[in-house]
Symmetry: C7
Amino acid sequence: MEIFGLEFNLSEIVSAIVPVLLQVLLLLIAFAIIKPIGSKAITKMIETMGAKKNLSPGRTKTLEKLCINVFSYALLFILIVMLLGTVNIDIGPLLAGAGIIGLAIAFGAQNLVADVVTGFFLLLERQVEVDDYVTVGGYGGIVEEVGIRTTKVRGFDGTLHFVPNRLIEGVSNHSRGNMRALVDIGISYDDSIDEAMKVLQEVADRFKEDERFKEGPDVLGVQSIGSSDIVIRILGQTKNMEQWAVERDMRKAIKEALDEAGIDIPFPHQVNLYKGEAKETV
Amino acid sequence: MEIFGLEFNLSEIVSAIVPVLLQVLLLLIAFAIIKPIGSKAITKMIETMGAKKNLSPGRTKTLEKLCINVFSYALLFILIVMLLGTVNIDIGPLLAGAGIIGLAIAFGAQNLVADVVTGFFLLLERQVEVDDYVTVGGYGGIVEEVGIRTTKVRGFDGTLHFVPNRLIEGVSNHSRGNMRALVDIGISYDDSIDEAMKVLQEVADRFKEDERFKEGPDVLGVQSIGSSDIVIRILGQTKNMEQWAVERDMRKAIKEALDEAGIDIPFPHQVNLYKGEAKETV
Amino acid sequence: MEIFGLEFNLSEIVSAIVPVLLQVLLLLIAFAIIKPIGSKAITKMIETMGAKKNLSPGRTKTLEKLCINVFSYALLFILIVMLLGTVNIDIGPLLAGAGIIGLAIAFGAQNLVADVVTGFFLLLERQVEVDDYVTVGGYGGIVEEVGIRTTKVRGFDGTLHFVPNRLIEGVSNHSRGNMRALVDIGISYDDSIDEAMKVLQEVADRFKEDERFKEGPDVLGVQSIGSSDIVIRILGQTKNMEQWAVERDMRKAIKEALDEAGIDIPFPHQVNLYKGEAKETV
Amino acid sequence: MEIFGLEFNLSEIVSAIVPVLLQVLLLLIAFAIIKPIGSKAITKMIETMGAKKNLSPGRTKTLEKLCINVFSYALLFILIVMLLGTVNIDIGPLLAGAGIIGLAIAFGAQNLVADVVTGFFLLLERQVEVDDYVTVGGYGGIVEEVGIRTTKVRGFDGTLHFVPNRLIEGVSNHSRGNMRALVDIGISYDDSIDEAMKVLQEVADRFKEDERFKEGPDVLGVQSIGSSDIVIRILGQTKNMEQWAVERDMRKAIKEALDEAGIDIPFPHQVNLYKGEAKETV
Amino acid sequence: MEIFGLEFNLSEIVSAIVPVLLQVLLLLIAFAIIKPIGSKAITKMIETMGAKKNLSPGRTKTLEKLCINVFSYALLFILIVMLLGTVNIDIGPLLAGAGIIGLAIAFGAQNLVADVVTGFFLLLERQVEVDDYVTVGGYGGIVEEVGIRTTKVRGFDGTLHFVPNRLIEGVSNHSRGNMRALVDIGISYDDSIDEAMKVLQEVADRFKEDERFKEGPDVLGVQSIGSSDIVIRILGQTKNMEQWAVERDMRKAIKEALDEAGIDIPFPHQVNLYKGEAKETV
Amino acid sequence: MEIFGLEFNLSEIVSAIVPVLLQVLLLLIAFAIIKPIGSKAITKMIETMGAKKNLSPGRTKTLEKLCINVFSYALLFILIVMLLGTVNIDIGPLLAGAGIIGLAIAFGAQNLVADVVTGFFLLLERQVEVDDYVTVGGYGGIVEEVGIRTTKVRGFDGTLHFVPNRLIEGVSNHSRGNMRALVDIGISYDDSIDEAMKVLQEVADRFKEDERFKEGPDVLGVQSIGSSDIVIRILGQTKNMEQWAVERDMRKAIKEALDEAGIDIPFPHQVNLYKGEAKETV
Amino acid sequence: MEIFGLEFNLSEIVSAIVPVLLQVLLLLIAFAIIKPIGSKAITKMIETMGAKKNLSPGRTKTLEKLCINVFSYALLFILIVMLLGTVNIDIGPLLAGAGIIGLAIAFGAQNLVADVVTGFFLLLERQVEVDDYVTVGGYGGIVEEVGIRTTKVRGFDGTLHFVPNRLIEGVSNHSRGNMRALVDIGISYDDSIDEAMKVLQEVADRFKEDERFKEGPDVLGVQSIGSSDIVIRILGQTKNMEQWAVERDMRKAIKEALDEAGIDIPFPHQVNLYKGEAKETV
């Protein structure tokens, strides 16, 4: 066969193309086998893990979807690269080009990856659950959603905070277990500490029957000697999220009990010395 | 054919050039096919996503344009590199040169990429919408525009803040749902807490009928025992952006109600002790 | 031909040199074509963009010059590298050497690149214009010049700040639109809030006719209950840069109106209790 | 054998495949031998180390599991790569592809690796044990769990802090050895320092018999000359975690002893000078 | 020729060495030509630039020396590498070794490079000149020397600050143009604002004739309503570095004028309420 | 020999294997020689250095162990890599794989390396020794152990701080040489400065005989003119760790001497002006 | 010669080994020549530089030792690498292995390199000399030693600070040139500013003869109008390190001069208004 005076040997061309086609076919088959098997394996693994860690079905699904997505894209990327390699198109330039672009992207996208990696563990480990009261990345409030990239926290003032997961360095979860109720009361220097502690302990004892208390409040003692008062501390353990209401009730009860017992919560004190008039020059 | 005493064999030259031309042709055709298909696929994908996430048409368009731009430039870059490779010009040096330049650029341009990547998700996820009142990257105000590189926020003092998207780490959106109205009132140590709470609850009850309130204000109790006053807290949920007006109205109503009931909002107190004149040396 | 007993075959040498010369020629021609075309394309592009974005001719020129410079140097660098490659001087060592030097430079020069990249967008996007009052990178004042590497800001105390563009992360532009005029006035606990608000609103109404006001000042209500006063807020929108003068005038007018109406702006208050002499030990 | 007019030489194919199969077999055998030996070696090493460092069996197990996991995955990864290399599938593209993905991952996952590396040493070195009272990464409280990725600390207010191990830079362990009990008492300028120190030393001596004290409290002397008082310091060493209770008891005892001895804990003092009436303009 | 029973063919050796020598010669000649041309070109360029930017001859010289040094060392480095390559010593190992060392150095030396790069622009752009009063990198004072690596600033307390150029991020130059003279004066609530402003304006008018003033001082109005005074602001523009002396003179003049006019600069005020004796318990 | 119809030539195989075996043997011998020599050399070097720097034998041992460990592992790693290279197993993939893993590790483990590098110098340079009182990395206290990875510091409150060596940036060692004893005493405005200084110098002179003082305390003069007192400073040099006890003794002695001399340590002063009753509106 | 049935041709082996030996010899000779020449050159260069910069012989020696050490180790490293390359041991794996280790080291050791690089310039540039009073890296005191890795600073409280050179970013050297003596004195509102300035100037004039003053102290004028006093500033230049003693003497002299002239240094002032009794409810 001659084109433009050049001879083409058909059988040579065929014998060059056929093995390539075979290789392509092999690759496609290999990947067609690997993909579903991999996906299955991932699903299985995540589900086992989810069951063991007692995760909600929603979370397990999210984790599965994420893992299978990452797996699929990686597989696809490798398939394309290997196909190009097989078809004998020199993929060096392509890879080099992709490398330069990739470097630029990597710099910019590392935050994204960091979000997803942290998100993966947030979902997996139950550090944070919807309706928990948490402090994460400097934002405090009730968790509304734990996403793979962002966690939504509803602040107590009504603001909705979108917190990128990578900012969630340490998690302070205020909804795990009993909370502390703590009231510091300053009494005057002139009042008897023993008497004041007795009155306060009586109030505390009354609250011990309150079912919101898990560990009855008790008077600890003299917490500090302030510049105008002796500070006495009362401490207890309450049901979760009841600590504020309990503290408010205790403050009211203590104030009333002290009033009754005639014990003073002192105002700031100052001793004044006088020096007649200042200078004659006035 | 002889030039400068050197023989050139035309047919050899032709047989060297033709396959190159064929390869170039093949590449051009390949890319001519890939580009519109890729663009279509992107458009489709973004539109489906936009519909699912309920994005405005404007946003969908911006996202489409961005994605297609990135796709086109990447494709073009790869096409050029591969063409040069085909034409047998050694692209090693070119790539190495580009690599050095690229590294320098990458260091400088990573901010740009980070802006665009963050901008992409800002547009996609509706964390921030025009006319929302938000706090992002330390700037607070009303969103005027969400761009692919910069978000414009109008501060309450009239200043227009241009916030690069990469600075938008956590988004605090104050326009999603009801807001809290909170008023703390200090009453004097001498007044009855019960009576004061009754008066305050009456004011709160009057406001419950106010339609700006979503969850009627209520008196919570004794928030703290201050150095000169007992602080009582009133809390409610209002319609979004009504919280400030509501708080102002409540403060006025409470002040007037307390005046009427003869309950004092106390000034700072101090107990003074005296010690005659200070030293005879004066 | 024999030199030092070594034979040189001239025709061989010629046949080795000629193709190299041809390649060099081709490269030079290619670049001679690419450079002006590229420059033209850039000029065109920038000018179209400038027209669309309504940039001043000066800015468009600066951007053009920058882009063409970068393009020219990149082209020159690639040309040299490719020429060396063609002339068969092994450029491996050269590139490796350049790589090591380049790495050191890149670390040091990234600030420079970051300045220029940010500068490019500052010029392009009109975030900042000469004579705007802005706060950028912690420096506030009037913009005197927006350069490709540095922005000059004249502080209000007369200092000239040279701000490297990379430090300009978020731009707060105080010269875009109306500005807020805000006056907080504390009235005494003993005065009637209603009466005070009436007096203040009368002052505000008088200012509504002032043409510097875009949105007449109005009394908002009780902003806070301070320790010694009730704070009332008055708010309006003024022409840009008139906010300070307007606020000064309002403060004077309000003070005079309150004096006239006999309403007090209270000093800090304190309640004093006495406890005879302190101890006999004195 | 002819397929599509192409001849295949069976024996050639066989002679091409057999050595490959042999190599694969060799690799598999090698790894089958290396894995259990490596695991055993690791187990042995960790156990010896654990015994020497007196670690709890739980910790030793955790460390073993971690080390064997890392070892297994690394081995598996290398096996796959080498198998692919043997089967003559060009793994260049695959590795390059993996490299780009890997770079992106590495940026995002470095936190994870840093967590595990720090966690490894936390487990190994007994800096922190369950039920210790520690301050790590800005969070203080009782350790509830030391994990390979996260350490759980229960704050004294009931909050459960999840602290990623990489944030644990310096560990302050408050449960190792005796703790300091320190009480600063201010006495008035008019009281004799000697007398006050005698009274305080008497209180301290009484506490020396308290078994919670490891090193009896002693009066150190005049710690500072304050603006209204002379501050005297009392210092001792107590059993771990008893320091707060002891300090509270000492404060109460000291207050009562000083009252008895008629020594004053002074309020802030001020000397007042008077200047008749201020200006006639009033 | 035989050595140790091995034959050496002299002519072969010669024919191997001669071309190498020729290449070395060529390289040396090339560099001998490039170096002076490059140096000349740099000198020319810097001098043109210096003339255009109106730089002092000293600065131009420093810049020239720096540029030629960098150029020479880079050239020398490349020459050595290429010579080694020519002489057929495999420079791979050498480069690899240099690469590892280089990386370590680069990490440590980047500060040095950053200093020099910043220094280059500091010298070129006249942001800072000797005897300017500047604030750079947190250090304020009079510039004593602008070097290529370090800038020396003499603080007003006599300290000599050596500021590495890389720390000079933003430059605040206080010696470019007129400076602001600003005096805030608080008058008492009881005094007439109009009258006080008249007296102050009279003082300001007297200063308008002072030649140190570029823009006569004027009374702006009521800057703020303080807790005990009404603050009035006077503002003007003075010659550079005269602002402090001018402000001192104005303060003295204003104090004397107000005294004369019988207008009070008020001390802090406090309203005292009394509540008989505190409790009977005393 | 035929297997599956394939011929194997035994002598060919042998002639392929023998040189490999020889190479392996050579490598093993080389390393068997290098390891003990290297270890010896290191031991020698460290010991010489230790002797010169006067290090304790324990430290020298720790440093030796560290250096020999690092040396051994590096040698082992290189041996394995070279053996694999010799046996003709293509180590490219292995190295590439290790490279990707290594990169991830390097990011995570750099802290570890930084700890050990800093620890090495801490041990070598005697900046910190057991029982020194130091401030390192924000933790202050007595050093209990200087380790290769962590330094243990016992805080004065009994807490044991584990400080990773990399956090030890600057070391403040309070146990090297004499310490300063400094007492600032405020005297009243009405007392004679000369007289007060005389009294204070007398106290200081008495302390000069105290052997805890290395450089007798002296009265420096008027350190500042405070708002209510004239502050006079007394300064001396004491034996290490005696400074606090000495200062306490001096404060007591000074207070008593001033009392005797009738010189006042003044309380805060305030001048009060009065303005009859505030407004008629009360 | 036959071993295991394999033939070895001795002459072939010899002819393979001899050129290698020659190359090794050549390398050794080359390095034997380069090392002393390089060392000499370095010594010369440093000494010339030291002489020009007027460095002490000790510093020059330290710099020489450092430079020659770095040069020697680099040379040795390259020699080993090249020898291995010559002996035909494939150094690829070795280098790759070293590369991975090197990367890990580089991350950890960059601080060390940064210390040495900064130390080099500290020694070279005389920014800091032994016995200078400096503030570096947040530590202030007298320099005791400038080392290549660490600078020792003796704080005024006796603490010895070891400051790694890399922390020395900006150097504030307080021992270069005259220091400022500055005294601010507040006089009462009722005193005549003119008269007070006259008295102060008289004191200043007396100090002008004090030889510790380089630029006689002068009264500058009214520095600020404080809330209770008029602040007048006196400024002068003293010999280095005499500033504190001079200021102390001036404060004493001024206080005495003002007392004599009957001019008051006022205490804080407050105007008190009274409002009968607070509420009837008491």
